[in-house]
């Protein structure tokens, strides 16, 4: 994230929409704008109050072309909106020639753009983290919104953390008009995973639930795909676990281990054990930092770690736990690619490897990728996430 350099001295801010867009009711615009502010008030001590008259902190206008600030809008597409940093007033302007929509794959989603612009109004510059809200590019409608860890870090660097817990209902924007969502209560496939089915990690916990992790979000899988109500925020539900994890596995003691960079975290269900994270070099001697994947192979009960074109076998009962003959080339695993995203021994006994939105099923007996019809790799979105 990037901070512009200014912020509001007060925590209680008010705003006013002085010019509404065409084609949407005032009430629906009011709701979307309030939801966009709520993204930021849910994670800080900031509060945002709508007012209908008088001087305000943040003025919101929907305008066309030149609108008095020397930075004219350019018609449909291109620039969608702009906003001023706190030191320049905090106002937000939206191009009224855009087809602003609510809860729709058509047009441009007002909530998403407004939440981004209000990030500027609060002092955040553009982020180079592509998954963040403060990335400058519009990604298209995303039915289920969760603030990225990068945005969270940015806004909390300016205004601190929220000391009172937000209610669960505020963790995602309200569904206006009762329309169904693509990720939520209807149990439909997750558009986030379907749009880009690549993952960071996948693991089956001791309760036999399988979870997929990607960026700042996670999903629970069912036999039919993604469970209803997902994705959810990792930071909200997994005590102390960071975003963008590298790999995870569940050991025979029922503990689940997560890896990112040079550290690892140990969880018992959704609770982090005391004194974590720890250094990989300390807890998993012989295993490098920044691993790609990890899983426990029931064939021999040992932990396998993958990174780039190599793999390591870790046996905690032995000293040293990694034999000198490791690392070995992944090409030993016939049919598997290098640089996999993560791997999982599933409840059906098969081991699955994931990379770039595809997956491979490994045949433990023949020690090669299964020959099957259709052949592997197969698209994970269809087979695993129900897309």
């Amino acid at each position: 994230y990037a901070l512009q350099g200014s912020r509001w001295r007060v925590r209680d801010l008010n705003y006013r929409i002085t010019k509404y867009p065409r084609g949407l009711t005032k009430a629906s615009v009011d709701r979307e704008i309030a939801a966009a502010f709520k993204v930021w008030s849910d994670v800080t001590e900031l509060s945002f109050t709508p007012v209908t008259s008088g001087k305000v902190h943040i003025e919101i206008r929907f305008e066309k072309g030149e609108h008095g600030d020397g930075d004219p809008f350019d018609g449909p597409g291109g620039t969608l909106a702009h906003a001023y940093f706190p030191i320049y007033g905090g106002d937000a302007h939206f191009d009224d020639t855009e087809a602003w929509t609510i809860d729709s794959y058509r047009g441009t989603n007002m909530f998403q753009v407004a939440a981004h612009e209000f990030g500027h109004s609060l002092g955040l510059s553009h982020s180079d983290v592509r998954s963040s809200l403060m990335a400058p590019f519009y990604r298209g409608y995303e039915p289920s919104f969760v603030l990225d860890q990068d945005d969270l870090n940015g806004i909390q660097a300016l205004y601190g953390k929220k000391t009172t817990k937000p209610t669960p209902a505020t963790l995602r924007p309200p569904t206006i008009g009762g329309g169904s969502t693509d990720d939520g209560e209807t149990g439909q496939p997750s558009s986030v995973l379907c749009g880009d089915p690549s993952i960071d990690a996948v693991v089956t916990m001791s309760d036999q639930n399988t979870y997929v992790f990607k960026g700042s979000r996670y999903w629970r899988l069912t036999e039919k795909g993604v469970d209803s109500g997902y994705p959810k925020s990792i930071s909200q539900d997994w005590d102390g676990l960071p975003s963008n994890i590298d790999a995870a596995f569940t050991w025979t003691n029922g503990k689940t281990y997560f890896f990112r960079g040079g550290e690892y975290w140990r969880f018992s269900d959704l609770k982090m054990d005391a004194d974590y994270p720890k250094q990989i070099s300390k807890g998993f001697s012989g295993i490098p930092d920044d691993i790609d994947a990890a899983f426990v192979w029931s064939g021999n009960g040992k932990i396998y770690f993958f990174k780039g074109s190599k793999y390591w076998r870790f046996d905690p009962t032995q000293r040293p736990p990694v034999k000198e003959s490791y690392p070995k080339p992944i090409s030993n695993w016939e049919g598997l690619p290098n640089s996999i995203d993560d791997a999982l021994q599933y409840s059906n006994g098969y081991t699955y490897f994931f990379k770039n939105g595809n997956y491979w099923r490994f045949n433990d007996r023949r020690f090669k990728v299964d020959s099957a019809d259709p052949a592997f790799p197969r698209p994970a979105g269809y087979w695993w996430f129900g897309c």
Partner: protein
């Protein structure tokens, strides 16, 4: 006589608008002459920010990203006056 490459002017305007080139780079009255390296570096910076391969060339992905709807606030504020400051 230098022959302009198709789309170069548009790309340079984009890069200047969002802070990767000095605003004077695209001002017809300034007659600014930019080295190829300056422009290539600006393209690379944009590519890095957008999470693309940093080729320094206006390849298909870069052009596509530049045509993606976006926020009008500059990505970088190092160059000259920012329109956001005018208020």
């Amino acid at each position: 006589t230098p022959v302009p490459i198709a789309g170069t002017t548009t790309a340079m305007m984009y890069l200047a608008r969002f802070g990767y080139l000095a605003p004077t780079a695209t001002n017809p009255q300034s007659g600014a002459l930019l080295s190829e390296e300056t422009v290539t570096d600006a393209v690379k910076e944009f590519q890095a920010f957008a999470g693309l391969n940093q080729t320094g060339e206006m390849d298909e992905e870069t052009v596509k990203m530049m045509n993606t709807p976006r926020c009008g606030v500059k990505d970088k504020v190092g160059y000259g006056s920012d329109a956001r400051k005018k208020r």
